[in-house]
Amino acid sequence: MRPVRRHDPAPSRLAYRMHRMWLTPAFWWCLRFGLPMAAVTLLAVWTFATEDRRMAIYAWGQDIKRQLEERPEFVVTLLAVDGASDPVAREIRESLPVHLPVSSFDLDLEALRDVVRDVPAVATAEVHVRAGGVLEVAVTERVPVALWRGPAGLSVLSQDGTVIGRLARRAERADLPLLVGAGAERAVPEAFEVLTAAAPFAARIRGLQRVGERRWDIVLDRGQTVQLPAHEPVLAVERLIALDTAQDLLKRDVSVIDFRNRDRATVRLTDEAVTALRAIRMIETGGSVE
């Protein structure tokens, strides 16, 4: 005999509905994309839910970053300064806040460039990391053109009036002209115009003195002073040269030649000259001396 109970080929209501659900495209989509996305989101939320885990993950990330940065490929071991004289280079090296070896990721090249630029003797600066772990600093130096004896002592000036460095004694840079007085550093070009114009008696010039931050005095040896006007001092120098050529004015016993009044130059004699002149006049007029 056959078994009494035969298999029912019909799907149950639940099986039928499940089968229909499986055939639904939206359900498929949910299963293939929605479910994994939900799982990942849930995992992420669970992971970042507590402070401890967040910190641990952050530290882990930082650690990996550090390991990457400290690879030998990225380490800077050498600092090369190009285009600077030794004292300036030394100064740049001292001023750079870099302790080698260092990872190139830790270098803020913009900031380093600003630091180098802030060194007085440097006109322009470029900083970059070269292959082979070299931090290259390419600078162009400011050229010292004059000395300045100012309120802070003896210093070296560049063409634009920047104080490049300090000196203890004038004799260290005897080749540079000396400027004196407050505000002298702001009129360096004008000083050089004057000096260029005064080239015929350059040997006698001791220095230029800024007076009242508006005009120059040329200080010569033998205690002579040429007072130039604030306006067009070069013209005054040329007049002085003309007077000197004609009358040997500078060789004479005068202490001050005053060109401040442009209509008329005034000459002050030395005390001895005044006395001698007065004696001569007395002799001529027959009077007694004192």
Partner: protein, 445 residues
């Protein structure tokens, strides 16, 4: 008569059908007595090129069968569901198998009903034409003016197809719109079935999470599938010999004008064999399909058939029967069915049709010898018909047993206009509706 209710439900089903075709997938469900067939149609809207001698295809080129499944029917007798839970399970089996084959989920289904004692009514209506030409509104009015008979409260209208329009004295119009005349008349063919049977079927389908997108009479759709175009045009009857019921539908001018069913079918033949030879139903079914026939010859007397069996009684299980004896059991029942069909055709006045072609289809039409027996009872013009070919239908489902299923597929693709496909008549609107007000404004300005 509460016509509006039916109108609304049928319209809703038409809307559902449109939605299903928009979505591109619709299921065909033929709930029969012996088998339940489910086809899944895919509408991809690609009409094949009909330039080279291919006639109108009645829309069947617009779809393709992507899933087909058949299962043994359970809980259905005489084409009517009598054990709802069993029927529901069987429908579920078929639908699931078809879905599995198609690999697509279907939500809409179109079903046909074989039982329910269909009754045909011929309705006539007439109305004056407003204005010169016939408009949609005139058609609506003439349809609503039809004299609907009292068909009983326990019955439901399944089809209500306008089969003929007449303007004044010109009859035989298919589409009267735009015709000029005074009076429009129309003939309507109405088919009712038992309400309980219909509700049971709808209940089973709803229990399978399917939306019903159409209902049709099995006899009608079998005719649509099995009758060729000429037969439908000139007049023919389709006899759908199913398992539990035999459907009859008469077509002329491409319209069904009559439908009936004889509550006898192939299952009754099987039962006769089982009773006559004392064998189980399954063994009887097997003998019927392998050795059955209706015309005995001398050869059949010598053709011994092993009856078989597994009762354990050796003597009983070893019996043999001649094929003549088997034919002797089957033939009276087949004759009875055909005589009932003849009676039904006579009642319908089939002999008055110009052409009296009869097409036998359905599973039971495959009995060998039927083509010699049937003409003796039904008349000379009888042929055994197979349903139309549709794209993608598996070979196993192309036989005559699938005439209803194929017809339903054609019905789904290209349904005939029914009453509810026309505009609703103005005077059928609810008394206080907005559209009634609009109509009043239109009429008075």
């Amino acid at each position: 008569m509460m016509m509006t209710d039916l109108y609304e439900t049928q319209r809703a089903m038409r809307g559902m059908r449109q939605a299903a075709i928009q979505r591109g997938v619709v299921a065909i469900l033929d709930v029969g007595t012996s088998k339940i067939a489910c086809l899944i149609l895919k509408f991809d809207g690609e009409e094949i090129d009909r330039s080279e001698g291919i006639g109108t295809l009645r829309g069947q080129s617009s779809f393709r069968v992507i899933g087909a499944a058949t299962t043994r029917s359970r809980g259905v007798e005489l084409g009517e569901s009598c054990a709802l839970a069993e029927t529901e399970r069987a429908i579920r089996t078929a639908v699931q198998a078809a879905q599995k084959m198609a690999n697509v989920r279907v939500d809409h289904c179109i079903a046909c009903i074989a039982g329910g004692q269909p009754r045909s009514y011929g309705l006539a209506g007439a109305a004056e034409i407003e204005g010169d030409q016939v408009t949609e509104q005139d058609i609506a009015r003439v349809l609503s003016a039809s004299d609907v008979p009292d068909y009983g409260t326990d019955r439901e209208i399944l089809h209500a197809q306008p089969v003929n329009f007449a303007v004044d004295h010109r009859s035989g119009l298919i589409d009267p719109r735009g015709q000029i005349g005074n009076k429009l008349a129309c003939d309507l063919h109405m088919l009712t079935v038992d309400r309980i049977v219909l509700q049971n079927l709808i209940y089973c389908i709803k229990r399978c999470d399917l939306e019903l997108a159409g209902l049709a009479s099995s006899a009608y759709v079998a005719g649509v599938a099995s009758l060729v175009e000429d037969e439908q045009e000139l007049g023919a009857a389709c006899i759908d010999m199913g398992g539990g019921a035999t459907g009859i539908s008469i077509f002329i001018k491409k319209h069904m004008i009559y439908a009936d069913s004889v509550r006898l079918g192939g299952d009754h033949i099987t039962q006769d064999i089982a009773k006559g030879l004392q064998v189980p139903i399954t063994a009887a079914e097997r003998m019927k399909t392998f050795h059955g026939g209706v015309v005995a010859t001398g050869m059949d007397d010598r053709d011994l058939i092993e009856i078989g069996g597994d009762t354990g009684d050796w003597e009983k299980d070893r019996r043999t029967v001649t094929r003549s004896e088997l034919i002797g059991i089957m033939r009276p029942r087949v004759e009875e069915i055909l005589e009932d069909v003849r009676a039904s055709l006579d009642a319908a006045g089939f002999e008055h049709l110009p052409s009296q072609q009869i097409v036998l289809t359905g599973g039971a039409s495959q009995i060998p010898g039927l083509d010699t027996l049937a003409p003796r009872i039904l008349g000379q013009q009888v042929r055994i018909g197979r349903p139309l070919r549709i794209q993608g239908l598996p070979q196993a489902a192309t036989g005559a047993a699938f005439a209803s299923a194929v017809g339903l597929a054609l019905f789904a693709a290209h349904p005939q206009d029914e009453w509810w496909d026309f505009d609703i008549s103005g005077d059928r609107y609810p008394a206080r509706s907005f559209r009634r007000a609009v109509k009043w404004l239109k009429d008075n300005w």
